[in-house]
């Protein structure tokens, strides 16, 4: 036997061994490379998008979100440094600071109040930064403006907040009971919701969250929750034709 015989014999071994050790072709290598490079891009962009300030330079708004740390507390808040406009959610509606004006006396008529447990935002303007506690005041005859009493250095200031049109700037968000939810998936069906979801309450004035899937505009609906921490919210909307649209909403974490 010569080496030639041995090489030739290796060429006629059982085909299963030939197939088993099949060569990784150049084409496959190419795909591996493409997959590797794609993964790198995804990681790089993920890191970049996690730093919103970077995108300020190119004019892209990426809002970061905060919420109440106390589940029993009513308000949650979106702090939006990119928008330079502190926002605040209370009882399912969104508010933003009207302007730089701070009143040191509550305007007449604003007597209804509710305790504001925790507001987490950075008020960049007006030399104020950080979290605060306070009280919310509104006028029962005019709900378009509310005031938050901010107690800082023994000086009480009243900062006006306006009710925000939710639909305009924050797509795919949904506010309920002072918390912010992000829609992660949605589907349309004539069938009812899964049984494991528990009815939480009704909502109104949900913004333009469904544009692009044959539905657009504000609507009313019911909110169901799943899980003890309500980390997944199941949102049901009854459409005009009597059918239902469902969406899975995930509470947006800080």
């Amino acid at each position: 036997m010569t080496v030639e015989n041995l090489v030739n014999a290796i060429g006629i071994v059982d085909e299963k061994y030939i197939e088993e050790a099949a060569v990784i072709t150049r084409k496959r290598f190419l795909w591996v490379k493409i997959a590797y490079l794609s993964a790198c891009f995804v990681i790089i962009f993920s890191v970049l998008f996690s730093i919103p300030e970077l995108f300020k330079i190119v004019g892209i708004n990426i809002s970061s979100t905060a919420q109440s740390t106390d589940n029993n507390a009513i308000p949650g808040l979106i702090s939006s440094p990119m928008m330079r406009q502190p926002m605040f959610f209370y009882k399912g509606s969104a508010y933003w600071s009207d302007n730089d004006t701070c009143l040191y006396n509550l305007p007449e008529g604003y007597t209804e109040k509710s305790e504001l447990i925790y507001v987490d935002y950075s008020l960049i303007r007006d030399n104020f930064e950080g979290n605060m506690k306070g009280e919310v005041y509104w006028n029962p005859n005019d709900l378009s403006v509310m005031y938050i009493a901010e107690n800082k250095s023994d000086v009480v200031r009243y900062i006006p907040y306006k009710i925000r049109e939710i639909s305009s700037d924050i797509p795919n968000h949904f506010f309920y009971d002072g918390k912010v939810y992000v829609i992660t998936s949605m589907w349309y069906t004539g069938n009812m919701r899964p049984e494991e979801f528990k009815f939480l309450g009704s909502i109104k004035n949900v913004g333009n969250v469904f544009s692009g899937i044959d539905f657009e505009g504000n609507f009313e609906g019911n909110v169901y929750v799943y899980g003890e921490n309500y980390d997944i919210v199941y949102h049901e909307i009854r459409l005009a034709d009597g059918s239902y649209m469902y969406s899975v909403l995930k509470e947006r974490k800080k």
Binding site: N5, G11, I12, E19, A21, V23, T25
Partner: protein, 185 residues
């Protein structure tokens, strides 16, 4: 298109058989030929010859494992060309290394008869069946597909030295088996 359908095209004498073979196994064939010949033009020629040979071989053959059949054909044709190149003193480093490594498995070169390659293949089948899967793949990748040590190490996610050590042990084991089986060379 699956392998059976491609083989059926050959049997139907449909020229799409070659197109489909090229589509599915073109890269595969090029890779094997390139490993052995280390020359793009020669590899291209071998792959084209492979398609012609497949066309002539099917029918009458109806391979059960078409992929392995294709690999065997392209390997044989590439080795034929390699031998021609070698006679022309054209050195092909990687293939030379493979032949050199395998020469260590041959107990004696002073023989007057050529061992029956089919019988030898049977012994190799026994040998391959007796070794672990990864070792078997490494053996085949090196000595059937003529892959470089570097490429094998990369594909298997192991170091080159581990590949070399594994191959060294496998060759020693093969040599023992050949001696035990009385393959006097």
């Amino acid at each position: 298109m699956n392998d059976i359908e491609i083989v059926n095209l050959y049997w139907a004498r449909d020229e799409n058989a070659i197109l489909e073979t090229d589509k599915k196994y073109g890269e595969y064939c090029h890779c094997i030929a390139q490993n052995i010949l280390a020359n793009k033009q020669d590899s291209e020629e071998c792959v084209n010859d492979t398609y012609l040979k497949l066309w002539n071989a099917i029918p009458p053959n109806r391979p059960n494992k078409f992929k392995a059949f294709v690999a065997t054909v392209v390997r044989n044709l590439s080795l034929d060309m390699y031998r021609i190149k070698k006679r022309e003193k054209a050195v092909i480093m990687e293939s030379e290394k493979v032949f050199l490594e395998l020469s260590g498995c041959v107990p004696s070169q002073n023989l007057d008869s050529v061992a029956d390659e089919i019988a030898l293949a049977e012994i190799l089948n026994v040998f391959l069946a007796s070794i672990p899967l990864e070792s078997r793949k490494i053996f085949m990748r090196r000595y059937f597909y003529f892959d470089s040590v570097k490429k094998i190490a990369l594909d298997f996610g192991i170091s080159e030295s581990k590949v070399k050590v594994t191959m060294h042990r496998l060759r020693a084991r093969l040599r023992d088996l050949l001696e035990r089986e009385g393959v006097i060379l």
